[in-house]
Each structure stands twice: as C-alpha cells, then as structure tokens.
Symmetry: C2
Subunit: 513 residues, 2 copies
Amino acid sequence: PMIVLRTPKGWTCPKEVDGLPIEGSWRSHQVPLGQMHENPDHLKLLEQWMQSYKPEELFDENGRLRTEIADLAPRGERRMGANPHANGGTLLKSLRLPDFRDYAVEVSHPGSVTAEATRVQGKFIRDVMNHAIMSLQLRIFSPDENASNRWADVFDVAGRGFVGEILPTDDHLSPNGRVMEMLSEHQCQGWLEGYLLTGRHGFFNCYEAFIHIIDSMFNQHAKWLKVSKEIPWRRPIASLNYLLSSHVWRQDHNGFSHQDPGFIDHVVNKKAEIIRVYLPPDANCLLSVTDHCLRSRDYVNVIVAGKQPSPQWLTMDQAIKHTAAGISIWDWASSDQGSEPDVVLGCCGDVPTLETLAAVDIIRQELPELKVRVINVFNLMKLQSPREHPHALSEKDFDSLFTIDKPIIFAFHGYPWLIHRLTYRRTNHKNLHVRGYKEEGTTTTPFDMVVLNDLDRFHLVQDVIDRVPTLGAKAAYLKQAVRNKLIEHKHYISEYGEDMPEVQNWTWPGGEQ
Amino acid sequence: PMIVLRTPKGWTCPKEVDGLPIEGSWRSHQVPLGQMHENPDHLKLLEQWMQSYKPEELFDENGRLRTEIADLAPRGERRMGANPHANGGTLLKSLRLPDFRDYAVEVSHPGSVTAEATRVQGKFIRDVMNHAIMSLQLRIFSPDENASNRWADVFDVAGRGFVGEILPTDDHLSPNGRVMEMLSEHQCQGWLEGYLLTGRHGFFNCYEAFIHIIDSMFNQHAKWLKVSKEIPWRRPIASLNYLLSSHVWRQDHNGFSHQDPGFIDHVVNKKAEIIRVYLPPDANCLLSVTDHCLRSRDYVNVIVAGKQPSPQWLTMDQAIKHTAAGISIWDWASSDQGSEPDVVLGCCGDVPTLETLAAVDIIRQELPELKVRVINVFNLMKLQSPREHPHALSEKDFDSLFTIDKPIIFAFHGYPWLIHRLTYRRTNHKNLHVRGYKEEGTTTTPFDMVVLNDLDRFHLVQDVIDRVPTLGAKAAYLKQAVRNKLIEHKHYISEYGEDMPEVQNWTWPGGEQ
C-alpha cells in the first residue's frame, strides 16, 4: 500500500512576496522572506503567515501546547526515530560466519605458491552468503565488477538480482538474486547505504579507480555515522565495507584512465573513529580482515586487494598475527636480527610488497653485508600519530620498528605523500623516503606500470644505495647494473609485449614457481 | 543532419565461443577469446575471425596495405584528430577582458570596508560575458548556485539557457541563455569539459562541499590534459575554472552536511603541471586571479572564495602584487620589522585570514612586546617543495619567510594535514602547527563553526602562548582570558542565536565598521 500526495512546492508558505509567487514556485526553496530588521512589510507577512496556523487553538494561555494536540503525536515505537525500521541497529543480527581459516592458502614457505587473493576471498564470501540466504541478511553491490573482481563463486549460491525477462543465455540472473549489479556506482552505493540503515549487512565490490564516483555519497554516510554515534538511542549498524580491486598497478590493457588510488586519501579526511583502511599483502591476510570487517559496526572499512595471480607470503597463522598487529617486521625477509639495521624497507599493498621483496633479494645477494629490515604495513592507520587515530602505533613502538635515525625506503600502494601526511610527527620522519603512484601510466605491461612510477625493485635498490651512506665501491657497480636492467626492460617489453622472464618468474629464494 | 546506425553489440566478432553467444550479448564486452596458449580451439576461432577480414584483399604480397585501401582514409583536416572541432585549441581565441582593476573595492585602510567577494567578482564576470556574447565564446555552468554564489549580475547580460515554455514568473530564462544551470553537478561538468574541448571558455560556479560529486570526472579531465600536453599536435585549450563558494566555514543554516573542503586534497593528487589552487583573502585578490585564470591554458584552476560580507584588506595595487607573488608578509599586520619575529602567523583562505588578524589584534594589545609576523598564502602551491611544483617557493625564500626555528601557527581553510603534506620537506616544518577543518560542525553561528574546529581567534591566541617559550606570567592571564571568552561565546549564542557583538563588530585597528 502506498499513499501518493501531490502538493504545491512550498505549500502553505506565504503565497506571494513583493509581487512574486512563492508557493508553487522555485522561490519557496530560497529564502522567501528576508530583511526582517529592515522591511516592516516582510515582518508583517511573517506574522500573518505564523498567525495562519491559529496559535490560539494550539497553545493555552500559558503558551503550552494543548494536551489534545500533543496527544496526536505517536508514542513508543510509532515515533519516527524510534521505529525500528528507522533505527536499523535495533534489528541488526550478527552474520553466522564460517571459519575463515578453512579457506586458507597453504603456504609452506614464503612465495612458494601463487594465488588470486580476491578469488580466495570470494569463496569465503560465497559461504557467508550461503549461511545468510535464509535470513535475508546480506547483499553484495557491484557496478558489474563482481565477476571481474573474482567473486564469481558467489553466484553458486546467489544470483544477480533481476526482475525482468530472463533469457536462456543470461548468466546467473534471478528475481531473488542477492548480488545487486548495475553499472552505476551511485546506485550501488545508495542501495547499500539504505540496506545497512535497515539493519542488514553488505559489501561493495568495485574497481579502485572508479570508487571516486561516490566520493560525495561516502562523505555523507561518514558524516551520518559520526553524528549518529553522538546520539545515545541510535543503535550501531553494520559497517560499510568496500573491496577495491582491479587496482592502480594492474591496468595492463585498460591503462592510465583506470588508475587512481586516491579514494584512500579521501577517506582518511573523515573522522578517525569512523574509518579503517586495510591493504592486505596476500590472500590469507585478506581472508582474516574480511572476517573482521563483517563483524564490525559503525565503520567504513576500505580493503584494497589485487585479483591477479601473486606470490603468497604468510601462512594463515602468520596472517592472523600480522593482521591483528596491523604492522610487523617480516623476520624471514630481514637480515638485521641481533643488531641495528642499516636500512628499513617498508611496504604497504600487495604490489609494493612484491617489489620490495624482489629488491631485498637483489640486495641480500649483491650486498650481503648490508643489514636490512623489512616491515609490512597492513593497517594503514597504524602509521598515523596516536593523537589522531585510535589504531595508531605508540611513538615508542614506531621508533622501535622504524628506528630513530636509519634511512627508510617505503613502497606504498597509493600516492606517496599520503604516507608523509600520516607520519610527519614521527621521530624518524626526516629519513623517510616514499615511492608510490605519481600519476604515470599507460597501456603497458604490469611491471612497466611500477617502473613508470619508480616503484619497481630496481628503483628501490637504487634508493637504498643512494640513502645508505656507508656503501662503497661495490654499490656503485650494483647501481649501474640495476640501471642497465631498467634499460633492458624497456627494450624487452617493446620487442615482446610482455615482461622479461627474470621479472615474470622471480620468486623469493626457496620459493617455487 | 544525423546518421543513426544501430548494430549488434560486438558486431562482427566471433558469433559463438564455447557454445555461448558473443556477438549481440554482454560477453562481447568481456574477454571473449582467451587462453590462446592452452586452448587450440580458441586459437582456431581467432584465426577464422581474423581471416574473415580477407587480409589477402587488404595487403599485397609484401604485407603492405594496398594503395586503394590506404587511399580511403581521409586526408588533412578531415582526419579525425586533425579536424579542428576535435582539436579545439586550434579554434580557441582569447577572451576580450575588461580591465579587472576597474571593479576594485576601494580600501583606504586594511579592514576599512566590507564586501561580498564573489559579488564583486560577478560584476567582472558579467562584463566578460557581455564582451563574449557576440562571439559565443563563454558559458557559465552551475548546479543552480549561480545566484546563491553571488553571480546574479551576470543575468543582466545573459540568461539561463532554457528551451522549454517560459512562464511570466520565471527568472532570466532564455533559449539563448549562456548560464547553464541544472541541479546536476555531473551535467555541468560534462557540458563544460565538452565545451572547452571545442575551443571555448567556461567557468564552473559551485558550492564547495558538493564539487566532490564530480571528483571522478575531474580525474579524467586532468588525465586528459596531462596526456594531451605530451602530444605535440594537440593545441592548448582554455583552462577548466572552478569557483567554489558557499564554503565550509559559512554553512550557518545548512550545517555539517554542507561542509567539506577536501576537493583541494583531491586536486593536488594530480600532476603539478596541470593543477592550480588559489585562496584569495579578499575581493581585490579574487578579481586579480579571476583575470589570470581566464587567460590561462591547459590548467585546472580551483578558486575558493566566500560570498558573505567580509572585511577587505588590500588595495588593488597591493592585491596585484600579492597575487603575483602568491605569498607575502603582510607588513601592516606584523610587528617584527627590523628584527627576528618571535612567532609567525600564517593564514590561507578568507575566514582563516580574518581569524588570524583578529588574533594578532589581541596579541598586539595584550602582549605588545611579542614580535609577530603575519604571512598570507594566496597560491597554495607556493608551499610545496620546488621538487614537486613549478610554483613552489625556493627553499631559501621559504626559510626567509617562515624562519628556520621560530614557531609557526598556520590557520588554513581546509584540512590541516594538507599543509603538512605540502611542507614536510621544509626546514622549519618541525615548528609548524596547523589549524583547519577537522570535520566538526552543525547548524550554528558563523563564529561557532570556527570555534568548533579550534580555528578561531581565541584558540589561535592560545596556540601562540603555548608555543612561544619566552612568554611569562602575563601570558598565563591572557590564556585564561581567551579561555573565558570561549565560554562566554557558547553561552551567548545559546541565548541569542547569533554571535557576540565583540565578534560580529570586530575590525582591524583603524578600520571602520
């Protein structure tokens, strides 16, 4: 049942002001009556309008609202704000989640296997969906990117919602479908926000570059969460979860137009108590954080993860510890055990992690005397000052990880200055050198994308050589060797259209192809 | 004349692959034929498909395109890229601009008059439009905010474009109107981009908070400019100019939902050679930069300026020098002439400038021995490292302005960390303390908006006291006095619904109400 009431715009406002129509015109949306101090005619009109509500019938002689009028207001759950459908948190039930550890990729040794992280995550999501089918608690929203971002397994248990005619050649359409696909990021975001507000759960599965389309809508949802947290009767709702895949570093055939890692920059401008940003380096970390996000409340969770086959680094046990900590030294990649490091290599994001480890491999082979510490950042907000974000590392922990005086080469998924913005108050910030996306790209090979932005293994080795003062003559030869590699790379891709075998087939020492 | 050609989606691609329809279905938009290395059937299909183009008719025995085929391609200006309508820069003519100095606000003394900056700008724009009417060179685009942002004078010479039925009570609608108003930021941005690409000029007049709606469209235009600059035959086009008004600090009756200064953050992620960001402190500076933007090519210019009555600081002569420099010491507000300052107060944006000067007024009265330097930043990119932006101040100039060791209290229009991000490489960054928008707001008075974000004059005085180590007992009394002022402020606005007279009526010493 639906009641449709059509009224003039600005119904019952002063019909005319200064000879111009107000009711029923666009002027009722402006300031129809201004200049109260200076214009007695307007003041008179205002009084007439207020009098038209007949205050003498509404208020008693003491100015109090008459009881029979006050009694017209609904009571209890019929009040607009107390209606559970308008305070969805009161209806929210936790999802029944399968054990994410059952979906783990078996990693016998760092880099020993490759996997497509979001495809692994998709199997977990499929079973979360399966549990939630009967309770109608979960929907996925995607601008036609659910399969492209490797969550196609979800279609085994839930189709794409579609109520029109279905043709035999259509793919997983269903009127009961719980995957809401429409090539409109706005529509997906709007659906999801409304769905969360009614006390259900959801995930937005999107290409990274195009999530900017809903920047403004995200703003308003984040503002809504901030304000509703200050209102005691508003119950927490499920977090708004984003998976951003098909990310800036793998736009091989799409190119420059599909590269933009700046949604993170946009998100971290909002209140720290609302926003969470995760960059899992591999599939097991992605599984762990997906479970976490589906359990969380009143946040906006942004997960950035690749979909392409990539080396896997951590066992599930290691991944759980790493994601719980948010930032860790990767001891198996480091060579500074029992002493001070000469240089710290930080990395955040799956592709920067790969390039950092490949750089470390070169350094450990060619400059074995150099003591290297490798730190992976999974929870971006660990870097920020503890004055700014509840997840932040303490100053002491930060100093202990990054040292107070050693050079830091930091390889980041997004714009490099975001790392500076988050860490400018840290003790060793002056020695922090960040590589990341600097708005360079084209239709080229995967490795060339990182080369164009100086984020590749060879540039990282150069950065280390440039910043460790104690390296002598041997380093000069190495610097020249990696410079030559970059030239070989350019020639090779221009001739063969794909990356050099030594880049494509590189594995962490002891790992297998 | 228009030719409408309807074809099946993916027309002429392989009709069917693995038993599924490709031509005429959504699958033609995916990767219809993959696994060339592993699947001989797919390789066969690919060959059949390529053969369907009958290469033997197209190429001669040496593999060269046959002359009669090559001759079918258009020549000269009929080539798609060489058609002047597709390379609008070849058609671009400079606007005939009236002398912006003729629109100057007369400022006999800093703060001696008030003006609405964008209304002053609107008169200049009106006359620019008037000159351009016959040559059809200029349009304004606005999501129904042209009058609200105080450019209503433009309607004296050009109406709002509208081709439907016009009613007598409509306001400046005209089928020849050159102000394109539609409550869709997307539509305005799309229109404007297309218009610029055909070799004309335009301005986007928008509320600051809602320009985020076109974040993603801005991205693609900025990328387009970056790439087209690398293509020698592409001629420069007019810059994409944004006026962002009704900004974060004056959302009195709109409140929190209308506050977001983050478009600047988004813009400065793009290539430095493309983007320009200006925050004029008053109307004369706004006039000067408007003239500059209308003459520029191949940039995205973002101007952030308020529309509310505000004190005017600079004469036109001073404004021209200030905007040309991009950053200056305001000597008339400073008290450190002939010596080192004890503290530097930086400001950027009209409201932060007002609050900084009001703070300086208090400091100079209450702590006359303190040597204060006031620096106004008009061109935001002056702050960035010279390694990053062509407009940047040299390190030497920056050190000379901001000192190498004195505390800097910086009042900024936008998110405070943007200033840190731009200046983290500067010598005195460690002593830089920035106030700005930290995502606090509600429906309240203008002054309360700055108080909620610690950007007001009283907080700035506290910041100075906290950071100048040499201030003694007298400062403790002053700190308590301004703390009490903040309490009085809260009580006053809760009782009267407007700001305290001493705040509303404050003027720079020697200025008149």
